[in-house]
């Protein structure tokens, strides 16, 4: 297991290395250099040249890259020209909002997808299954931005069940905080639930057809025990990988949802950063987001191995 974790960490770091190179070059090749942007209307050629000197933009690219990576590791991610604050501070400020949004959304998605997926498999080709599959199609087909707006108008504005915009911090109580992200979390969940239901349904169907289910019949075990202990256990592996991927997807979903609901999270920050062409902040955020995705993937792989004795004892699957 330890050697597996080390291997995964090494491959994760390799991915991050390539991402850092790509980020570095793409952002440097974009028209308009950081010094000019940073000074804005006050920029005279002399001042720009001076700032370029200070920012190290005159150095050869490999030295610039080296300094940047060195700073990343020492925790100095630079400071944003737009906000005038440390990149790290900005990210840490916004992070709880996005994490809470993703967590609440997952708490909705996972039980819902398991219940619907299992029911749909157990009652295959019956009305429960038809309804579940239609809902799945609908969830996939409805654009999230549209759904977000409809929900906003109906549940927040008309019925007043939720705040129309904004985020309530943990200081005002965890429940108030959750309540403030609940509607966006539901929107995010609807977009994510379809693929998970589908994979749970198909894993469950294949598990129900396995011969070990015949043994539960021969042993005269009650249906619920057979389904929960045997069928579900056999069907739990594939959904686990999908859940990992969906956590990563949620970051993308968060950009849209946070903007519509005016939540001050990572997604909103990312969009503002791109709009304002805040290059230092942008490269910091790209590194941060990709690291998060790589980390989630490594954790998923570890969970996958822990949950699956076939791989743990299978030998040559590393």
């Amino acid at each position: 297991m330890l050697s597996f974790i080390i291997k995964r960490l090494i491959s994760g770091l390799t991915v991050l290395f390539f991402i850092s190179i790509i980020t570095f070059f793409v952002l440097r090749w974009m028209p308009g250099d950081p010094a000019t942007l940073s000074l804005g209307t006050e920029g005279t050629p002399e001042k720009i040249a001076e700032l370029q000197e200070v920012m190290g933009l005159n150095l050869p690219w490999y030295q610039q890259y080296y300094h940047w990576i060195q700073d990343l590791f020492s925790g100095d991610w630079g400071s944003s020209y737009v906000f005038g604050e440390d990149v790290m501070t900005l990210i840490i400020q916004r992070l709880p909002v996005t994490l809470l949004l993703a967590a609440v959304s997952m708490v909705i998605v996972i039980p819902f997808a398991f219940i619907i997926g299992i029911m749909s498999a157990l009652f295959k080709e019956r009305w429960v299954d038809y309804i579940a599959r239609s809902l799945m199609q609908l969830g996939d087909a409805v654009p999230q931005f549209w759904l977000a707006l409809i929900f906003l108008v109906f549940f927040a504005s008309k019925l007043g069940w939720f705040p129309v915009a904004g985020y309530v911090g943990f200081d005002d109580g965890i429940l108030a905080s959750i309540h403030s992200v609940l509607l966006p979390a539901i929107v995010l969940a609807i977009g994510q639930v379809g693929p998970l239901i589908r994979i749970i349904r198909s894993s469950m169907l294949s598990s129900l057809e396995q011969d070990y289910m015949l043994m539960t019949q021969v042993n005269g075990l009650p249906k619920t025990l057979a389904i929960v202990k045997y069928a579900l256990r056999g069907a739990s592996i594939a959904p686990l990988t999908i859940i990992g991927m969906q956590l990563a997807n949620m970051l993308a979903g968060a950009i849209l949802v946070e903007n519509i609901f005016a939540l001050p999270g990572i997604g909103r920050l990312l969009l503002m950063t791109v709009e304002q062409r805040d290059l230092i902040l942008l490269q910091g955020m790209v590194i941060f987001v990709t690291s998060a995705v790589v980390l989630v993937n490594i954790l998923t792989d570890i969970c996958y191995r822990l949950a699956n004795p076939m791989i743990r004892f299978g030998g040559n699957h590393e």
Binding site: Q210, D211, Y212, L214, M215, T216, Q217, V218, N219, G220, L221, P222, L225, K229, Y230, R233, G234, I237, N308, P309, M310, F313, G314
Partner: protein, 268 residues
């Protein structure tokens, strides 16, 4: 009179589209018997037995006939009663050893379920019984096997686990569906000896499905021969082997390789 454990009377099964798979199969097993069902692949052996244990896939239909298990008519029972009757009264040893055990659940948690549900909801007792039975089927380190996942065991070990598992509820009848197919000859012999011992010393009836005529000849007192969904011949094993009546049985028996015809083939 000896107790009838299993009886099929003129059972016919079709595939739901009107095509007959089993035609008028009748079969009886008394207490203490060791019975064989032989026939080539696809002759309907497994299907016939599955119908007796109410294990047919949903799309197959029993069109006629009576099925009795441990003195009870299956059609008259609720599905819960059927489950209890079969789960507690019959042990089943499957053919394919790998997939019948759940690959992701430790052996001990699979072995004790039927005991906990049908006999006594005492986990400690159940585990002790499982351990004793594993020892009985010739496993030297029952503790290790109980804590293992199926993949950590060899094919022969898995089949022993299957047999021990079938014995957890002290069944009167064990149905073994080609239980030695995937095993090498040494393990095959050990497994058959085990069935024989259960039959001889504990009076457990065995219904043994096989296409290996030599094994059937050696162990079974009575046998049924199946061909294209029908039972074409039945009777005492030695009687059928010495005096086969049906042309299919005659053909089947002539295919058994013996030392004499092997050497004749070789030396012409």
């Amino acid at each position: 009179m000896m107790e009838k454990l299993l009886q099929l009377e003129k059972v016919s099964i079709d595939d739901g589209l009107g095509r007959a798979l089993i035609k008028n199969a009748s079969l009886t097993i008394f207490q203490g018997e060791f019975i064989g069902i032989v026939g080539e692949s696809g002759s309907g052996k497994t299907l016939t037995v599955k119908s007796a244990l109410d294990l047919l896939p949903d799309h197959l239909v029993i069109t006629s006939g009576v099925r009795q298990l441990l003195g009870k008519e299956l059609n008259g029972l609720s599905s819960k009663d059927k489950r209890r009757l079969i789960g507690a009264g019959i042990g089943f040893v499957p053919q394919n050893t790998v997939v019948f055990l759940h690959p992701m659940i430790k052996i001990k948690y699979q072995m004790i379920d039927a005991y906990l549900y049908h006999i006594d909801n005492d986990k400690k007792q159940a585990l002790k019984k499982a351990s004793d039975l594993l020892e009985k089927v010739g496993i030297k380190e029952p503790k290790r096997v109980l804590n293992a996942y199926p993949k950590q065991l060899s094919g022969g070990m898995q089949q022993r686990v299957n047999i021990a598992m079938a014995l957890m509820t002290d069944p009167k009848l064990i149905v073994a569906d080609e239980p030695t197919t995937a095993l090498d000859t040494v393990v095959q012999r050990q497994v058959m000896e085990l069935f024989n011992q259960l039959n001889q010393s504990e009076g457990v009836s065995i219904l043994f499905i096989s296409h290996d005529l030599k094994i059937v000849k050696q162990f079974c007192q009575r046998m049924y021969v199946m061909y294209q969904g029908e039972i074409v011949e039945s009777g005492e094993t030695h009687e059928i082997f010495t005096n086969p009546k049906h042309s299919y049985t005659q053909k089947l028996l002539s295919l058994i390789p013996t030392l004499t015809n092997l050497s004749m083939d070789k030396f012409g």
